[in-house]
């Protein structure tokens, strides 16, 4: 049976009350880092899925006028539709283009009068590099000024940004773990000094170092879990505020994402991970300190 009896007088202990507060702040920070990381992951996954297997062909506004541009676009569309590697090719309607530009340029005559390139949205049946090269060659023959974008450069850069976010989140987790470990080490040493007489008595009546270490470890575990739960309680309104602020931003600029179950499980695990780290650190600290005596 798990005993809650402790041989250490808890109420007098200041160093370890500080642990609860510190773990609260650390878990709060970790929760935010995990959330940013998860959000960026979901976003990228979304973008990645929506652009894989697609091409955009752009036929720039021609000096020869709208008519020439439209003829050129029709020709490109025809070539694409007949190409074996292409599953589907559609001319993006002008209304959709102005819609896409709306968040950036607004509405009105300035936008509707703007000369816009023709855009062809292509779904690929075969997205191998050789198929893309063949399509590119055909399109160039039909309209030498056409620009083909397979999104790879764009995607690579966004992926780079995402990896940056992940690295920062990982760095925060490492720093937080180090801060937790150091805090536990110093708090445990402070209590060891504070309770030197109690520990001496425990030794005199036959306690092994492992028993004494267990007393400190169990307390560190409980305090870190309490602090961690407090950190999550603090995190909830912070997440709510950010989610509300994000919901007011146009989804074309900042897509709304649903965070996966794994994210919430990871968050829920944070207090217990902190508890485990605190427990092991306290145990090792006590054993090392005691072993250096007599």
């Amino acid at each position: 049976m798990f005993s809650v009896r402790s041989d250490l007088p808890l109420r007098r202990d200041i160093a370890n009350r500080f642990v609860v507060w510190l773990v609260m702040v650390l878990v709060f920070m970790s929760a935010l880092a995990v959330t940013v990381n998860s959000y960026v992951d979901v976003l990228l996954d979304d973008w990645n899925r929506s652009v894989t297997g697609t091409l955009t062909v752009q036929i720039p506004v021609s000096d020869a006028g709208d008519k020439a541009a439209q003829a050129s676009a029709a020709k490109v569309l025809d070539v694409l539709k007949r190409h074996p590697a292409v599953a589907k090719a559609n001319l993006v309607p002008r209304a959709k283009l102005t819609e896409l530009l709306k968040p950036w340029l607004g509405e009105g005559d300035a936008v509707s009068d703007l000369p816009l390139p023709a855009l062809v949205d292509v779904q690929l049946g075969d997205d191998s590099p050789s198929a893309i090269a063949a399509i590119t060659a055909s399109v160039k023959t039909a309209s030498p000024s056409a620009v083909i974008d397979d999104h790879r450069v764009w995607l690579a850069r966004v992926m780079g940004l995402a990896k940056g976010f992940s690295a920062v989140a990982l760095a925060i987790m490492i720093l937080v773990t180090a801060a937790l470990g150091l805090t536990i080490i110093f708090a445990t040493r402070a209590s060891l000094a504070e309770f030197a007489t109690v520990i001496e008595i425990l030794h005199v009546v036959g306690a092994k170092d492992g028993y004494v270490a267990g007393q400190f470890a169990r307390r560190a575990l409980i305090q870190a879990i309490l602090g961690g739960l407090a950190g999550l309680i603090l995190y909830a309104p912070a997440l709510g505020l950010i989610a509300w602020l994000a919901s007011r931003v146009d989804p074309e600029v900042l897509p709304h994402a649903t965070l996966p179950l794994a994210h919430w499980l990871a968050l829920a695990a944070l207090p217990f991970v902190a508890g485990g780290i605190a427990m092991v650190t306290a145990h090792i600290t006590v054993r090392r300190t005691l072993a250096s005596k007599i």
């Binding site: 041989d7 109690v198 008595i201 425990l202 005199v204 036959g206 092994k208 170092d209 028993y211 005691l290």
Partner: protein
């Protein structure tokens, strides 16, 4: 006291034996440098000597809180000079220690203080309840089981400390000025407890500077003076009643 009578002496030889033992703190000057003495089983010795002669240090060697800086220390026939910390902890469970300043855990009740050695040794709670109650009865504190040490008198605290020291049925009881903080009448009562424990089979080393107490009991004296130790005959020739 049936509880204390049960334990058979499962070793041969002396309870404690010291051979050429010296002790210094952190490489400083030696408090004593060449102590040789043997404390037989079931014996009772006063530990006497002027203040600062090292009585407390000698006892702390015996209850394994310190290691000798030289020489050999044997406890219950086992050389403990190089024993591991875990082994020392196990050996301490066969010792009872009583201090002048009681050293009770102030946040624990009388009962929990006495139960501590048993619980640390992993004894089941049913046995703990039975043995601790019996012992508190024996020292006359059955009515104070749930009291915290702060509300007890000096004599009562020392009886709790004695109960804690003997709850593991120790083969050797080390007492460091146990009557130093109580008046003479209470000192006499405490002394009776130690005499009874000795009759029940434990060897006892009783450090004191109370000459009148030493003069009233027929026990030999382990006398520490300068850096030497000698065993002196009892001051009293009176016999303790059986």
């Amino acid at each position: 006291m049936s509880l204390l009578r049960k334990k058979a002496q499962a070793f041969t030889g002396d309870s404690v034996s010291l051979t050429g033992v010296g002790l210094s703190y952190d490489g400083g000057p030696e408090i004593f440098s060449n102590v040789t003495a043997a404390i037989p089983q079931r014996s009772f010795h006063f530990l006497t000597g002027p203040s600062g002669a090292g009585k407390t240090s000698l006892l702390s060697l015996m209850y394994l809180a310190k290691r000798p800086s030289r020489g050999t220390l044997t406890l219950f026939g086992e050389d403990v000079t190089q024993a591991s910390r875990n082994r020392l902890a196990i050996l301490r469970r066969h010792l009872g220690v009583v201090f002048q300043d009681f050293r009770l855990l102030d946040h624990m009740t009388t009962f929990d203080n006495v139960a501590l050695p048993l619980r640390i040794a992993g004894i089941g709670e049913a046995v703990v309840q039975r043995n601790v109650s019996e012992l508190l009865n024996w020292v006359g504190l059955a009515d104070y089981m749930t009291a915290l040490p702060a509300v007890l008198s000096g004599g009562q605290k020392q009886r709790v400390a004695i109960a804690r020291a003997v709850v593991n049925r120790p083969k050797l009881i080390l007492a460091d000025e146990p009557t130093g903080n109580v008046d003479d009448a209470i000192a006499e009562r405490l002394m009776q407890l130690f005499v009874e424990l000795n009759k029940l089979g434990a060897s006892i080393i009783f450090a004191t500077h109370n000459q009148s107490l030493v003069a009233r009991y027929p026990f030999p004296r382990l006398h520490l003076d300068g850096s030497a130790v000698s065993i002196l005959p009892p001051l009293s020739t009176a016999r303790t009643e059986s």
